[in-house]
Symmetry: C2
Amino acid sequence: MIVRHLKEAQATDRRVVDPKGNWESTRLLLKDDGMGFSFHMTTIYAGKSFRMHYVNHLESVYCVRGKGNIKTLDDNVVYEIAPGTVYALDKHDEHILTAETELELACVFNPPVTGREVHNADGAYELEE
Amino acid sequence: MIVRHLKEAQATDRRVVDPKGNWESTRLLLKDDGMGFSFHMTTIYAGKSFRMHYVNHLESVYCVRGKGNIKTLDDNVVYEIAPGTVYALDKHDEHILTAETELELACVFNPPVTGREVHNADGAYELEE
């Protein structure tokens, strides 16, 4: 069994801080853990709004804390995000995520993130070669 | 994109209550959603302690709220559970989960649960035929 703690993981290279200052994410479970998915606790800083497009991954996001919204760009529909909301990008949906207050999100990626990806110019994580 | 809310889902058959009275679980994402994993928000009622053995699934569990512990039965080691703890049953570890207070847990299953499983006598979810 694997057991980890968010606070301890945040003091390691499991914590990744967005160079653009929008978010930080601590990857509690990665590809190497062999679960077939990765699990990240992600903070979106209050007031930030940015575009993402995970063309290589499916992602689900559960809101633990905070208030915000997500707009899907193919139809311009806006969905409110509050504690208890889950959204799943089952169609690799391009979207804009907005944090009205700081958002604490539990994120699951399939395929699992290795921990070495960065968001590219298209707001995606590249797959490893 | 799929968007759901815990409170609304709790009013549907996504909410499953353990007939033995130990837990309830609301399956926010299931196999049919096509994410390759399922995502459940699970409450373990305060004071409950019970054995589980998911021989057919890998499961990760993130503690959002509450205090408890997990004991792995192959080595009798006890790990504390508090907000921010994640454990991953990467070896289908047989375990006893104890809720000292009510636990709110974010659970990910691979392969995804269909929503029609029940815990069998061995504390596992059966796979669908």
